[in-house]
């Protein structure tokens, strides 16, 4: 590595405005949404054009300097955590909407465009961009592709991977590849899916062609209160069994309901042990018909209170508590740790019981807010980092929840990615041969191993150590510090 030489070349390429080298200027970039994991980057590059990005890649490759791509920095698994000897490559300034093509039903955008900005731009044409992570005001489409982000509406409309029809990706050898395009599917090999969720390890996303969805003419939101998590879980299964795929189906537990209610006064019933929010959309007649069926299932499974919102204002109120749930729970304790595992829907009640049992065992409270329709849990573990040892306890508790998700047939991450946070749990989910296959796949894209090294894939040595760690219950070399984002 020849950092001095690289620095001179980067300065010549980018100039003062687009390259940050001073300590104060670099400070805002030392962390992403997983705020306690910090590292000051060597330099921050903020190119404004595709050519400048390619220039940065060429310089880094020549001098073997590692690169950490970054979008808006809202990631929750430390995927954009900087390296002290690496360039933090921000794509945030590539933020033009290049084309809105109504005839083909697509928009072509640069990677730094914010998720919500796409839906706002296409609204006048009667479309929206379906994947809607809760962070959509801030997160970038490039980051969404890199994490395969989901949202409240992905039960019906799919994740990022289902809504991206074309990608322009630069690999470190200077090649610019087009995967897919403005059509539905390419003939032959389809490299779009492997790029989605690749956490910046395979290439730099330079352009995204997103599929636009026509706005549904009608929506309705149902709130149903239950006196047990088991009943609510059965209602979720019942809705699916009746052949309904709601636009969204979210669940909150008692602690989350109380926290949300105290925070935003959405009118949630405080005597409920579990609450379901179900959104239906479609034609007017279709929504009415589906609504009747959903209400019947909810009642059958023991909902003791039902509220239906058909006008946008009432719907916004019902969603308010769910949308504010994370900050609301954040008020209950000095710190919280947000987990992200998936399980088969049918195991919901059982897994929540197990989490409650672990909560007693660890002596830490946990609130549950999740995408019930997808079986994607977000347990929020409450702790106080000022109490010695409590952070480590929260991490151990979180790790145990994820291992349990794998044990019941789920996955260690539904939408937040592995990053640096879940490296140990990857060893639970994959065998040594599978991890080695991932490494070879990574090397096919990035033979020099300079793109986001150390993220998403655990080394085999680490997995051997983790195995040992389970036996000796020794958590030393794991996450450093964590607090709320």
């Amino acid at each position: 590595m020849s950092h001095q030489q690289a620095l001179e070349e980067l300065q010549a390429l980018l100039g003062q405005d687009d390259l940050i080298t001073d300590a104060a200027g670099k400070r805002p970039y030392e962390t992403d949404g997983l705020a306690a994991i910090r590292e000051v980057p060597w330099v921050v590059a903020l190119p404004r054009t595709r050519d400048a990005v390619l220039g940065v890649l060429a310089i880094c490759r020549r001098h073997r300097v590692p690169i950490v791509p970054r979008g808006a920095g809202t990631g929750l698994s430390g995927g954009a955590r900087p390296m002290a000897d690496g360039v933090l490559l921000s794509l945030a300034r590539l933020k033009r909407i290049l084309a809105i093509d109504v005839h083909n039903g697509i928009a072509r955008v640069e990677p730094g465009v914010r998720n919500l900005a796409i839906s706002e731009a296409v609204l006048p044409h009667g479309f929206f961009y379906a994947p809607d992570p809760s962070s959509q005001i801030a997160c970038s489409i490039g980051g969404n592709v890199a994490e395969n982000a989901g949202g409240v509406h992905c039960l019906k409309y799919g994740l990022t991977v289902h809504n991206v029809c074309g990608l322009v990706v630069a690999t470190l050898d200077g090649q610019v590849h087009e995967f897919g395009g403005a059509g539905w599917d390419p003939l032959g090999l389809d490299l779009r899916a492997v790029t989605c969720g690749s956490e910046g390890l395979l290439g730099i996303v330079l352009e995204v062609v997103v599929r636009l969805t026509p706005l549904p003419p009608e929506k309705a939101v149902v709130l149903a209160a239950f006196s047990s998590l088991g009943d609510a879980g059965r209602a979720v299964a019942g809705i699916i069994r009746h052949g309904l795929i709601p636009a969204g189906l979210e669940m909150m537990d008692h602690l989350a309901i109380r926290a949300a209610e105290a925070f935003v006064h959405a009118g949630y019933p405080l005597d409920a042990e579990a609450l379901l929010l179900c959104e239906l959309d479609g034609t007017v007649g279709e929504v009415s018909a589906d609504l009747a069926r959903v209400e019947a299932v909810m009642r059958e499974e023991g909902a003791f209170k039902l509220e239906v919102a058909r006008d946008p204002q009432a719907q916004a109120r019902l969603w308010l508590g769910r949308k504010a749930a994370f900050p609301a729970v954040g008020r209950l304790a000095p710190d919280y740790y947000c987990m992200d595992g998936t399980i088969p829907r049918g195991r919901l009640a059982e897994v929540l019981d197990e989490i409650a049992r672990m909560s007693d065992e660890f002596g830490l409270k946990v609130a549950n807010v999740f995408h019930a329709g997808d079986g994607n849990l977000h347990p929020l573990i409450l702790y106080d980092a000022n109490n010695p040892g409590e952070l480590e306890k929260a991490e151990r508790f979180g790790g145990r929840i994820l291992s349990h998700c794998v044990a019941v047939g789920g996955a260690v991450s539904g939408e937040h990615g592995v990053g640096v946070e879940k490296l140990d749990q990857m060893c639970d989910q994959f065998s040594a041969a599978e991890l080695a296959q991932f490494e070879r796949l990574k090397a096919a894209f990035d033979p020099d191993g300079l793109l986001n090294p150390g993220k998403a894939l655990p080394t085999l040595t680490r997995c051997v150590d983790v195995g040992g760690m389970h036996v000796h219950a020794n958590s030393s070399a794991r996450f450093t510090r964590l607090d709320r984002f």
């Binding site: 093509d101 005839h103 039903g105 989901g150 039960l155 799919g158 994740l159 991977v161 289902h162 690999t171 050898d173 590849h177 395009g181 059509g183 539905w184 599917d185 390419p186 003939l187 032959g188 090999l189 389809d190 899916a193 492997v194 969720g197 690749s198 026509p214 549904p216 299964a237 052949g243 479609g282 034609t283 007649g285 279709e286 018909a289 589906d290 998936t342 399980i343 088969p344 049918g346 997808d374 079986g375 789920g410 996955a411 260690v412 539904g414 939408e415 990615g417 879940k422 990857m426 989910q429 994959f430 065998s431 041969a433 599978e434 296959q437 070879r440 796949l441 096919a444 894209f445 998403a456």
Partner: protein, 335 residues
Amino acid sequence: MTSSPAQRVAEQVLAARASGTTLAIRGHASKRALLGERRADAVLDMRACSGVLSYRPDELVITVRAGTPLKELEAVLAERRQHIAPGIPLLEGQGTVGGAVAAGLSGPSRPWRGSLRDVVLGVEMVNGLGERLRFGGEVFKNVAGFDVARLVTGSEGAFGALLSVSLRVAPVPECTRCLVVEMPATPALTWMRRRAAEPHPFGGLCWLEGRLHCRLDGAAQAVADFTGEPGMVEEDPAFWTQLRDAALPFHAGWSGLWRCAVPPATPTDEQTVCIDWAGALRWRRGSINTVGESCPVGSSPLALGACDGLLSRLKAAFDPDHLFNPELMRADAPA
């Protein structure tokens, strides 16, 4: 101890690797006419590796061995009024699930119900090193590790032999209505593009031989809410099954045709025989060189041209000795 069918496949691959024998992976060979026949030193027959491993209708997921006949999959799902939403072509009236996933072909409802790749949740496969590997799983949301399950979908076995596949299933729509009207190609395409921008429960939009075919699938009320074009009359849904399975009269003589994936609003022309996927899939006499991709019927897109750079490194990452389907992803240009 008797070995499982999957283990026997893995053993065959290991033996082939040791002896330097290349393998043509084969299910029902139903895609010969469309993608060409795969040739190699020996055949890796997947038909014995068959059967449903688990089906959980409430979870909307089914896991089957790769050699399971598509007809069996359809029948098992139909008992619970479920199906694979994009529709899977049964070429020559047959096909295995592994062959379908390897070919990655989706039916006419693809623009509205997602692609076959989209509903692949996980796979178990044997790579060129003879290792049995699992990627993805049985849950809808899963971002742990690279999405190899969807990478191998449509790779025609070039990365390995599939042993089992987990697919997301969907409820069969409550109601189906099929309409047809006489219309020339250009106005039909304009009509499709205009209506596809609106929120209708389409299950297919196709133009063929001077007629515009329109399929609706959804809640009874949503289907009833749709107002079509003056002159549209009901037609037999069999048209759509035949279109999916390449069993219409025009398919009989399709060996001279090209399959083209294009931006859906691409203007049509005299060479176009059929417009499917609301414009995004065309069958033409001759290729389209300016927009989109095209491949002649009878060839695999993976056998056209030499494979270099990223693609050749990818092939080597899974199958370094080019054991599987060696005509695909070759380093040297095919004759």
